[in-house]
Subunit: 474 residues, 2 copies
Amino acid sequence: MAKTQKAAVLTPQGEDFPRWYQDVVARAELADNGPVRGTMVIRPYGYAIWERMVAELDARIKATGARNAYFPLFIPQSYIEREADHVEGFSPELAVVTHGGGKELEEPVVVRPTSETIIDSYFAKWVQSYRELPLLLNQWANVVRWEMRPRVFLRTTEFLWQEGHTVHVSEQDARSYALRILTDVYRDFMVEVMAVPVLAGRKTARERFAGANTSWTCEGMMRDGKALQMGTSHELGQNFARVFDITYLDEAGETQFGWQTSWGVSTRLMGALIMAHGDDGGLRLPPRLAPTQVVVLLVRDEDGAGEAASAVARELADLGLRVELDARTDVSFGRRAVDWELKGVPVRVEIGPRDLAEGKVTLVRRDDGSKSPVPRDELKTQVAAALGAAQAALFAQAQELLASRTVEVGSVDEAREAAQSGFARLPMSVVGDEGETALNQAGVTVRCLLGPEDGLPDPDGRDENLAAVVGRAY
Amino acid sequence: MAKTQKAAVLTPQGEDFPRWYQDVVARAELADNGPVRGTMVIRPYGYAIWERMVAELDARIKATGARNAYFPLFIPQSYIEREADHVEGFSPELAVVTHGGGKELEEPVVVRPTSETIIDSYFAKWVQSYRELPLLLNQWANVVRWEMRPRVFLRTTEFLWQEGHTVHVSEQDARSYALRILTDVYRDFMVEVMAVPVLAGRKTARERFAGANTSWTCEGMMRDGKALQMGTSHELGQNFARVFDITYLDEAGETQFGWQTSWGVSTRLMGALIMAHGDDGGLRLPPRLAPTQVVVLLVRDEDGAGEAASAVARELADLGLRVELDARTDVSFGRRAVDWELKGVPVRVEIGPRDLAEGKVTLVRRDDGSKSPVPRDELKTQVAAALGAAQAALFAQAQELLASRTVEVGSVDEAREAAQSGFARLPMSVVGDEGETALNQAGVTVRCLLGPEDGLPDPDGRDENLAAVVGRAY
């Protein structure tokens, strides 16, 4: 069979999903590999998407009362060593600076893999009284974890993220804040903006963050049926508070250790976006996230089509939409159309002299490829409707994929089998510790634990009747 | 003489300016020293100001057509060595990572001190044809330059900045873009938002960036009469293009080297803000930059004053102002007032039961300390007027300082003398190379060269009749 035009641009998903992913990253000009193994260059189009993610997340984070701050990139090695569990989790991943100012340093410094230790050493200084609590801080920063098997956006030696760190007067207060971040910030953003349905649940003991008492997670399903951990929120209990001596005076004047949380999402979300929605034509961006929501594509600059295209672009921008005008008629129409498809721009308005003579333009939706002639004077309404429909359709498709590829099973063996093509769901009591080991040996993990009706498990930790969702993960 | 209340909070500027600076940074909770020498923690209030700076600058940068991207933190040592001039400029300042993933690296990597070398190696790959030019990229990132004499915000081992990097088809195009950044982005932001008058001029050959043909600068005068370089924009000619092989095919199909610029401003602007406007009471923030423009201060929660304060805060926020309500009546009014002064919030609205009974509230301006009773129903108009007046007054004061502390002189000796308390201005032809050496030996530098009527020097480089502005610098 002859290859189609699209197959010539990208490896089809069904043929080789990882290669399709690499192709999309390259062809949509999202990112490039950096010269140091495992690092990446985020190109302008990729970075524009990330900026939109940051803006949407930052607003939600601030709405919970947290404020942004910035802590140093360099952490003395001794800080890292203070928290033993923590070192165990990160040690082989550390990048170490041994030379500065032209000579060897007396104490090597570590490039932050995460900032618990440095932030907590300041919390110890700043926190005095219950009146100042909760202390809710967030940081947007780069972090470094040496990666042996890097993959752009998904696992890179350096990545961009936000990390929240908080101190509370009680376990209960810390827990409800950790859950608020999980649901009102992360899940809300993923569902409403990214149009990715996620399972919000608890990690098993062996999957949780080193140093946390409880880790909560949002797990998404990619179009190859694999799981991607998209964001986590941790209850740290008093573990770090005891190591770093974060204490406060309570109302009765007694010294107490603080209760803490930490939580983060990263440029890994870019990988989730690509793999949750992309198809053989390239990216498909949900309109609420897309840096360009509508591209106005001038077919040929004849008979006033050029002026009409500019006018349409202005009109749509005046509605508050993010619009780009493509009037590069020196490049073939077909090539430009394929390019905008690759880049996943949700709606394309094609304006050419022939249609225009009939008072029409063509509206193309990226999500389903539908093309419809639209009377020029209905365009604004139709574009707005198409954007709304595209956002909903992408979510519905991803939801449908998740439902159709999640299988209820009754045993660990069945779970392992089902996890080859999607998620398996079974009672955690059936999995048990031994079952989890068996799954792990087959490259399968318990992605999260869910409570009744797929809700969050009882946060107080009663483990009866939890469902385990099992899958292969990125 | 007994110390006043303010003197108890901060060292007076007149007594010890550097100590005053440190006091403000600490007491206004802007920043803290990091554990690794020369690094800093930017605290939430300081970071909120920086976020406002970023937003204002980013909008102006994007308005010139530049797009944001992100390049790796780690640069192979060999890249740095490729550009000899560059190495000379930075080598002793480099932080070097020698270990990653638990073992020694085959090639050490450098933590970026600036990104010319890594970005240029990608430009070489991306740039093909004149059609793609100009290529205008910007990056918001942290950079590291090992500092022996660190000072928070002004000279820190790690700092935050934006660095722009561009490629153009001609020297002329690169030059006009470098100047557009200097005036439409940097100077406009400094003057219109920061309310800091700056001298926009050219650096002398010895003051220019290593690797640049021409460096343009915005220099501000701090309240101790010293100069602060607030932002620079460089014409790189084809220097880096030749080293990194950045070529394009011109319209005639000939291979040409690109012409480049680079430009940056950093968290050093925080230092400029503090030192250009701060007084013995603390920060004084220009309203257009202040994260909180108005604080509504409840004096005592009696006779409906609490409700009135909330209502006023809402009303002002509805005008689009950035408003904070301070109803912490468990802390003394005096202490809270001093605190808001320290933080430099431009306008304070004090609401207490006594005034309120007369239908009034008190409006206090931070810039001049003026207090006026204002009828409750005129408050919105008066607050808006006060903010406008405060923005203008801060600029006028800084302008007045710059004018009164700049002295016209006729010789290098006079210039050296005058630079002890401000700027000296004299013809560059009088300074000459020898004069510049003599000045430098006395810790004085030529801050910039100005053209006729203090305008920009002729960019084509004819050096006749240029004025040299000479001062001591941070």
